[in-house]
């Protein structure tokens, strides 16, 4: 997980997912999106735990969406990215790019 201001890998993935879903993202749709795009099997609990962490840090915010009988009357929780979140994402991306700068990797050699 991210130390201090920096985002951990999974935190970045979740944040990017929330961005992608443009404010309509809720737990399960996020999970599906992540699984689809990364090919990584992820539990809904892991997604929520990360969202909670991100919310505590102020990078995302959430509000209640609609409830439905199939959900047992429970409301959906919708997430959207906060400005602080986009900043953190950009910072992480920049950091990685700077480390990548000038490096070419050939998977066939060490």
């Amino acid at each position: 997980m991210g130390k201090g201001k920096f985002l951990g890998e999974f935190e970045q993935i979740v944040l990017l997912g929330v961005l992608r879903l443009k404010g309509d993202g809720y737990g399960m749709s996020l999970r599906r999106e992540i699984e689809r795009r990364t090919g990584r099997a992820v539990s809904i609990g892991a997604v929520y735990a990360t969202l909670d962490r991100l919310e505590t840090k102020g990078y995302v915010s959430s509000h209640d969406g609609e409830s439905a009988p199939v959900r047992g009357g429970r409301a959906r929780r919708l997430f959207q990215v906060e400005p602080a979140g986009t900043q953190a994402l950009q910072a992480s991306k920049d950091m990685l790019n700077r480390m990548w700068d000038g490096i070419e990797v050939d998977p066939r050699t060490a």
Partner: protein, 888 residues
């Protein structure tokens, strides 16, 4: 439609907490029903749900812990508890796998103890606590009666008359759905086959009373039972065994005395009533019977708002009113009583003592197992000292350590419990097999929900019990002393050794109690087997025939049996043939007997004797000797003077030492009842069971009183294997009456064996427990002595270097090893003496304080203890002093 798994949902909800729980669960539900279920099908959808739940628990709990930490709250947050438990469980499994061999020994020992408990509890649950499937079983009662003037005790079977039944039915306000029934054997024909079924004849709708619906079809209405409509209900068992569970059975007919009866219903499974296979209407109303015809049983439900005590109070009032009204003409009503018992209680009374003793015994076994495991764990803990010290240094406080170790021991014991369940399954199957051969034992022995809950509870409790001591001991660690290489902290190991010695004492005490119990029972069974039966039960085949009164009048009964005996005696291999309405140890027919010359007007003062109706061949077939006079002969025919034979006990009782030959007796004080002249005195037999002294008995010749019995046992002595003549006997019977079935086919030896069955079973089971206990105690002693040798190696080296001889060292070790054994033995003897009294009913000719048994058992235990401590002691004496001194 499949719904989402509740348990998985609950798990996720608990792990997620209040903040995100609802949204998360909502997401899961929506995904499950809208996307997963339609595309993947029910099984894979449920699997998916569980996968999500289990995979989510970890991250969610971690997150909650983070929150708790950041909130600087104490680690008592709920998520923390669960987290800690999961962590501990993972550590436990790792620790168990690291010490695999040791853990396997522990788990196996636990499995044996828990498995034994499970089997026994399933027996007690199935036979004593819940033998019947009737809902609200403790509101279902039967009413027993007691007539002191007739010399009868409290009895439920064939002890109530129709008038007494209607009195209850019409007047008792605390009871409802009161029904009554009579039982008897009837031969029924289904197409070509005929069968003898134990049948109940009912007044009232019994299904209402027992509170169950028929498995198929319907029951009989109260009106039908009184009118005698041609309807009947079959038992579930017969429907399965004789009719192959034919689903079209309703509406089919069978024949009884040539009349067709329609099968209208099938009983629910396991609804057992004294082994009745057929339910039929009584056919007449209760008012046709005389008030004194007591051959019926009564059952009812306690009305809502009343208790069993209130029922009994009301019955007492009713009894006293009846006494007031009828006691003058019917003397048996003086001081008579009616008592209601629950149907279960009435049926299992006789089983309770043995059941409770065995339950207690198996509890002891479990305690023993726990002591043993605790002792072994304590021995192990030397190696864990370092681990404990490291944990303490890393910040674990004592309660945390204790919790960790308890989790470990509970995990061990749950593993033992699971293995034990597997063993128990074998045990219950075997037990169910054995029980199916015993007659009239209601209930099934199985691993039902109650039993499984019991096993789970016992496993966890055992884990805490044996784990507590080692956990407390291990967690009391001094960090500095342990982390330095001065590993052998004297105080620590002293304390441990002391605890182990205490456990040895406990084990020895428990083993001794079990050994004494087993020994007493074995002694009883041996003495029972040695009892002189008074007759020769070897090579005697017995079977029962009931001649229906509708087809056979008294004369025909007599002729039938005469012919039967004559023809059977002609079968090759048959040595003698006789008949009787009862034979040892079966006893159910008693009478009060008056002796001529002794003027007694009050029937209540007459002595009670066993009264048997027999034929001349009875005595020869059973091998009962005659001491004076003669047996019945062919001269004692219908018009000849009425004769009787008495046994030695009756000669004593009725004639006070005078020669009974020529004197006369009769039943009761009624002027019209006939006198019988005694013509012979037969030897005593175990006529009321091998565990009782012979009862006074009077025999009458069936040929002279054929109207008094139409149900007889045929007794056939053979020179060949008794079973080999059965087919010939059957065809002889068929030759006389093609429709007459023969049932209850058993040798006399088997009948005798059955009467001691429960004692023998208890003896066997208890002996197995005792042997197991002895083994465990021996292992425990061995382990503790070995451990103490290990701990004291340096000390031993020192002694030997200072001049002690090997034999001295040996004696020292053995003496110290036997100290706890002696203490445990004394305590055990004390407890055994106390408990011996509780076994009273099961013992025969042996008191609870039998010195022979106590001495034998103590000697056995002492020997075993000596042997168990000898080996390690030998090892100690063989130590090389120099090596020993260097031992760390």
């Amino acid at each position: 439609m499949i719904s989402s798994p509740r348990l998985a949902r609950w798990l996720v909800e608990r792990a997620a907490g209040r903040v995100h729980g609802p949204a998360l669960v909502g997401d899961l539900e929506e995904e499950f029903y809208d996307h997963i279920l339609p595309t993947r099908g029910p099984t894979r959808a449920v699997l998916w749900y569980w996968g999500q739940a289990l995979g989510s628990a970890g991250p969610l709990l971690l997150r909650r812990r983070e929150r708790a930490r950041s909130r600087k709250s104490s680690s008592q947050a709920k998520g923390d508890h669960m987290w800690m438990f999961l962590q501990d469980a993972r550590f436990s499994i790792r620790a168990i796998r690291k010490n695999l061999a040791f853990s396997v020994i522990l788990i196996t020992t636990l499995a044996l103890g828990i498995g034994a408990n499970t089997v026994l509890y399933s027996v007690v649950d199935g036979l004593v606590l819940h033998p019947f499937p009737f809902p609200d079983g403790d509101r279902l009662v039967t009413v027993g009666t007691e007539y002191p003037r007739l010399g009868t005790g409290l009895n439920f079977i064939e002890h109530m008359s129709p008038a007494e039944f209607t009195d209850i039915r019409d007047e008792a306000r605390s009871l409802q759905d009161i029904v009554a029934w009579d039982m008897g054997n009837r031969q029924v024909s289904f197409g070509e086959m005929s069968d003898n079924l134990f049948t109940g004849f009912w007044w009232g709708d019994a299904f209402q009373t027992i509170g169950m619906s028929p498995y198929l079809g319907r029951g009989m209405t109260a009106e039908e039972t009184v009118r005698g409509d041609a309807v009947a209900v079959l038992s579930h068992r017969i429907w399965q065994s004789r009719f192959g569970a034919d689903p079209q059975i309703i509406g089919k007919t069978f024949g009884l005395n040539g009349n067709p009866y329609e099968i209208v219903g099938i009983m629910p499974p396991r609804a057992e009533f004294s082994g009745m296979d057929l339910w039929m209407p009584m056919g007449v109303g209760p008012e046709v019977f005389p008030r004194q015809r007591r051959q019926f049983q009564v059952m009812a439900r306690i009305r809502d708002g009343f208790s069993l005590d209130q029922v009994n109070a009301e019955l007492e009032g009713l009894a006293r009113r009846t006494e007031l009204e009828y006691a003058r003409e019917m003397e048996e009503y003086a001081d008579w009583r009616m008592t209601a018992f629950t149907w279960t209680d009435a049926n299992v009374q006789s089983l309770k003592p043995a059941a409770y003793i065995l339950l207690g015994a198996v509890g002891f076994v479990l305690l023993l197992v726990c002591s043993n495991v605790a002792s072994l764990l304590l021995g192990r803990s030397a190696q864990r000292r370092q681990e404990m010290a490291v944990r303490v240094a890393m910040g674990a406080n004592r309660s945390r350590l204790v919790r960790q170790m308890l989790t470990e021991s509970v995990t061990l014991s749950i593993a033992g419990g699971l293995l034990g369940l597997g063993l128990a399954r074998l045990g219950t199957n075997a037990t169910a097999e054995i029980l199916s051969t015993l007659p009239f034992v209601s209930g099934t022995v199985e691993l039902n929900t109650r039993v499984l809950l019991f096993t789970a509870g016992v496993s966890v409790a055992a884990g805490v019990l044996f784990g507590l001591l080692p956990a407390l001991q291990n967690s009391a660690v001094s960090v500095q002393g342990t982390l330095k290489s001065e590993g052998a902290s004297v105080t620590g190991s002293r304390g441990r050794l002391g605890l182990q010695r205490v456990l040895v004492a406990v084990e020895v005490a428990l083993a001794l109690v079990l050994l004494v119990g087993g020994g007493l029972l074995i002694s009883s069974v041996a003495r029972l087997n040695a009892v002189d039966t008074g007759f020769q039960p070897e090579n005697v085949m017995t079977m029962r025939l009931t001649l229906p009164r509708e087809d056979y009048d008294a004369a025909a009964v007599s002729t039938f049996f005469q012919t039967l005996e004559e023809e059977v005696s002609a079968i090759p291999g048959v040595v003698a043939v006789g008949r009787g309405d009862q034979f040892p140890p079966i006893a159910f027919s008693f009478t009060r007997v008056a002796t001529e010359g002794l003027e007694v007007t009050d029937e209540g003062q007459l002595p009670v004797v066993l009264s048997t109706i027999a034929s001349p061949g009875y005595f020869e077939a059973l091998g009962i000797p005659f001491h004076r006079g003669r047996s019945f002969s062919d001269l004692d025919v219908e018009d000849a003077p009425m004769v009787a034979i008495v046994n030695e006990a009756a000669a004593e009782l009725l004639f006070e030492g005078q020669d009974p030959i020529g004197k006369r007796v009769r039943g009761g004080v009624d002027e019209d009842s006939p006198w019988f002249q005694v013509v012979g005195v037969a030897g005593n037999t175990v006529n009321v069971g091998p565990d009782q002294p012979p009862m006074a008995q009077v025999f009458l010749n069936h040929r002279q009183v054929p109207e008094w019995s139409n149900q007889m046992f045929l007794l056939v002595r053979t020179s060949v294997d008794p079973y080999s003549v059965v087919p010939a006997i059957r065809s002889t019977v068929r030759g006389i009456d093609a429709d007459q079935p023969v049932y209850r086919i058993q040798t006399a030896e088997e009948t005798l064996a059955r009467s001691t069955a429960s004692r023998r079973i208890a003896a066997t089971v208890l002996s197995i427990f005792a042997a197991f206990a002895l083994t465990l105690a021996a292992v425990g002693i061995f382990a503790v002595v070995s451990f103490s040798v290990g701990e004291r190696t340096r000390e031993i080296g020192l002694r030997m270097a200072l001049g002690a001889e090997a034999s001295q060292v040996r004696r020292l070790m053995i003496r110290q090893a036997l100290m706890p054994v002696v203490i445990g033995g004394v305590v055990g003897l004390g407890v055994a003496l106390l408990l011996g009294r509780l076994m009273g009913q099961l013992l025969f000719e042996v008191t609870g304080t039998d010195p022979v048994t106590l001495l034998t058992v103590t000697a056995l235990l002492a020997t075993v203890a000596l042997v168990a401590s000898y080996l390690p002691a030998m090892r100690a004496s063989r130590l090389d002093p120099i090596e020993a001194l260097r031992y760390d």
